[in-house]
Symmetry: C2
Subunit: 329 residues, 2 copies
DNA sequence: CAGCGGTGAAATATCGTTATATTCAGTATA
DNA sequence: TATACTGAATATAACGATATTTCACCGCTG
């Protein structure tokens, strides 16, 4: 069994190069140092295969180049894309992502925020379902999709505009009678504004509409019952449905097909999110695309550049419409 | 603008409780301490809202409760499920996940391993495409899907068995002439054994087969050309296709439909992975399911319990077959 | 040539913990 | 009664960096 030699420290490098400790630190951090010193130190670093101990550095400098990302899970495609983009944006700036999943549990969310605080991360990006979350005082925090008041910056899509756009597109494509289906948290959060936008557009266009809104945890069958109720002589009461997420849209399409209805011939569907099966493949169905990259980029740049105070506390980034008929024709 | 008061340290707690520093440390870490001391310290901790500084702790104790997870990306569903499960398995044990994406780039993989080393993580779980990866000497590392030799533990699915199973299932369902389609890394890695298993089963069952294997980066159209070449009078030369991943299976099914062929009536498809659109929804098509949870659990328990040396260096976990006709009927 | 600021590396204090050494009651033993 | 032994808390060293202070040396000036 081979004895593994201990990891070299700055002290070892200093001894090897015949210089003082502080000089090595300066070289490592790119601060000005006499040329001959720099060369000697660099040689010693290479020779010993030295690397800084980020824990010692973090302790002394109070800077860790770590950002906590707090999300419910890595199952929902929207969360996944968000995490992926945030990670990229962080890596670009030489920061690393410490990931925490909370499973939509307010208590876990609170615990995890404390853990992140204790881990001395340089910032927290958080998609939380806990309206009473106690925000740490010493670490910048940015929220996604939940507004915590004027003191905490919140980034989200333009959900209201997205709701309007969904209704407008359905009408543009010939729909005369709309429905809005939603399952989700009953807490007030930004995505809930999709409904308001939808209603506002329907009323502006003078198009009749029906709402079916249920809370998280409700079995999906509630929607199937709703559809059955509105099915008369093999025809549905509405010819255009806006589903609050792509995931719901996907299920609804399956149900409709099971009921013998054709999509989009008998009823048109539009979802929300813009998620794809395998990253770069076509959409399930038409949808309102959330600008995930921009959301991620905005969060990261705000948290690192500390524009938190100047910036407006609620940022709504523009959504777009995408046609995704292929799969469903 | 309110002055924020400094974060309290153990010293502050000790002063507040009127005890020595070491006593506070013992209380915080659950070591035996006289009852009256414990009570006083706990009171002071609550009063000051004290939390340990994990950087100071990590520096002194050489233990960080951090594990690096290195993956190409968070786009491929297999990687995503793996990351999600690994994160859960770590959180269960009070460890945290530091995530690094490498984009399949061997150089980035190497850099990221060095970063993880410098971050003093307690272990590294790594799915790498760099066969020459320099493995750190001081940190336990477990590889997924790539065998680095007897000294590094490698965990993967039973890819060979999965390949056999895929062929057997197609034949069982009436196929008389098979094809195997693969796009992927030309480096030798565990998933490449799917082909060997497939061939072995075909030969054992005395069923003719065709192979189409292209390297990563080849445009997908190569497969469409291949299919066209084997299309005569609206009929394909084979009636069963094993695609090396679900992602490829999905694309192939689309192509076949575009060519006027029906799945599964004219040609049956089986994929590999077992990935689903929205977490809990039905499969795109029949597939060989990788035991992602078991892979994750195995990696985590091996790396934390340091069974690295006793354990066999290559662990192949059993796969299973799953029927997923719904989407494609 | 004594004195003086300016320069830049060396020396040292410090970050907040854990680990080790030390102290000191309180008891047991001869 | 003096001595050795426990056990538990206190005091202090150490972890490996960065931040701050010290100080030797330089060229200038009066």
């Amino acid at each position: 069994m081979s004895e593994q030699k201990p990891v070299p420290t700055m002290k070892d490098v200093a001894r090897e190069a015949g210089v003082a400790l502080g000089t090595v630190s300066k070289v490592v951090n790119g601060l000005p140092v006499g040329e001959e010193y720099r060369v000697r130190v660099e040689k010693a670093i290479k020779e010993l295969d030295y690397r800084v101990n980020s824990y010692a550095k973090g302790l002394r400098s109070n800077k860790t180049f770590l950002v906590a990302v707090i999300m419910p899970n890595l199952v929902n495609p929207f969360f996944i894309r968000l995490v992926n983009c945030i990670n990229k944006a962080l890596a670009m700036r030489s920061y690393r992502m410490l990931f925490y999943a909370t499973d939509f549990d307010p208590q876990q969310e609170q615990e995890v925020v404390l853990l992140a605080e204790q881990q001395k991360v340089d910032g927290i990006i958080c998609l939380s379902y806990n309206p009473n979350l106690k925000i740490p005082a010493n670490i910048p925090l940015i929220s996604i999709d939940r507004y915590f008041g004027a003191l905490i910056s919140c980034v989200s899509s333009d959900n209201y505009g997205g709701g309007r756009l969904a209704a407008e597109k359905l009408v543009e494509n010939g729909c005369k009678n709309l429905a809005f289906l939603r399952i989700g948290s009953k807490l007030t959060n930004e995505p809930n504004k999709r409904k308001d936008g939808f209603i506002s557009a329907c009323e502006a266009l003078d198009v009749p509409y029906t709402l079916k809104i249920v809370d998280d945890g409700t079995p999906y069958s509630a929607f199937e019952e709703f559809l059955q109720e509105h099915l008369h002589d093999g025809k549905l009461d509405f010819d255009g449905i806006f589903c609050v997420t792509d995931s719901l849209a996907y299920q609804i399409i399956n149900s409709l097909k099971g009921m013998g209805l054709r999509v989009p011939e008998d009823v048109q569907i539009i979802g929300f999110d813009g998620s794809r099966h395998f990253g770069d493949m076509e959409l399930y169905c038409s949808t309102i695309v959330q600008p995930v990259e921009e959301i991620a980029e905005t969060c990261v740049s705000m948290i690192l550049e500390k524009n938190l105070l100047q910036a407006p506390s609620l940022l709504c980034l523009p959504v777009s419409y995408a046609y995704g008929g292929t799969t469903w024709k």
